[in-house]
Amino acid sequence: MSSTFLDRESTIAPPGYNRFLVPPAALAVHLSIGQAYAFSTFNLPLTKLVGITQSAPSDWKLTDVGWTFSIAIAILGLSAAAFGRWVERVGPRKSMFTSALCFGGGFMVSAIGVHFHSLWLLYLGYGVLGGCGLGIGYISPVSTLIKWFPDRPGMATGMAIMGFGGGALIAAPLSILLMEHFKTRTSNGVLESFVTMGVIYFMFMMIGVLTVRVPAADWKPVGWSESKKPKLLVTNADVAVDMAWRTPQFWLLWGVLCMNVTAGIGVLGQASPMIQEIFSGRVTPSAAAGFVGLLSLFNMGGRFVWATASDYLGRRNTYMVFFLLGIALYSLVPWFGHLGSVPLFVAAFAVILSMYGGGFATIPAYLRDMFGTMNVGAIHGRLLTAWSVAGVLGPVLVNYIRQFQIDHGVPKAQAYSITMYIMCALLLVGFLCNFAMHPVSEKYHYRAPEPAK
């Protein structure tokens, strides 16, 4: 069978290959697709495409534009689930290339949508096509990294998934710089920025495409051997993807991820108005933007720090910390607000957001511990549907409960207290799912077919 550059066979690393060349390849992809978290920088300019300086009657509404991000995140989860097995089969290079085409192409189609002022083309471009790029790109390097770092799977996947959190830190100022650069009297620079970002991100993701390598089947790190001492929640067996999601462990992990993400994502989306309303008159919009930035930093840092720590603490113990510490901090937040202490309030949310990021980054290693390495990428893809659900559930809980309370006469500064206690309840559900975790029954383990006699 002929082998092309993009095929898995062409990416098998030669003997003596330095495995620390693989994480930057993964980071190149994750730093690019992490742009999604900063898409909101385009929201207001997209509502002034006709009026330029202010919205004209024919301009898009903010609520309409807001759907673009929601569609992209929903498609991320769905495409990761749908294409997970394909990503496993074709290997990281072809899947990263597909992701780069979809993500870069999504920007291009969105630019055409801006040119013709077609909201549906924006949804189709950034939302659907870009969302597929997000989903495929997110899971592409995960199983490769786990295979390269069997001794430190948490650290390896944490490094890559840290990039998804860090992508927003690059994209937010980059988008603003580009729009400023391309702004004219007749355009606010969104179209040109989309085209430029599509090209930049495609090229940056190609760094990952060109450099990623998979280890040979019999490769092991020098001096490392698989532990013979059995650990309760770390298996040496493999579970196939179609079997994995029939196990209770898959759904327990689904609950763990969904609850952890729900508790963080709603706060992340409402962080700016929340701090301004709780500390009314003391926190300016510009300082609130600083708060959002700080949360993004902790979201990114937590991905690497917590995932690395999980290699030493164990995966279940790490999530126990997330849930118990999360419950403690969420229940203290209303009191910090009541005290009027901005530093305590900020510190509590910084730790909460670090655990939100940590939850994302530790889950691939948790899956590896429970289901083995064989189909871990595909299983991870299916588990990301929990993110899609949390992406809707979290903001809805925070926004609607706040509005309900304000409508019933609760002062704005106190309107978040109930939400915080609901977050505690969600984290308690996550804690129980994690507490119930036990090894996968042997009946689900993969057995290679017997050779024909």
């Binding site: 330095n18 990039g163 690059i170 937010a172």
Partner: protein
């Protein structure tokens, strides 16, 4: 350490460091 190793890590860490610096500059406004 090979040339490729250094170039690859710089290619991903320099943009990230730039983003972190810009974010920190904004975050400092919270405490000023």
């Amino acid at each position: 350490m090979s040339f490729r190793f250094i170039v690859l890590w710089l290619a991903v860490l320099v943009p990230l460091a730039w983003g972190v610096m810009r974010t920190l500059q904004n975050a400092l406004k919270l405490f000023s």
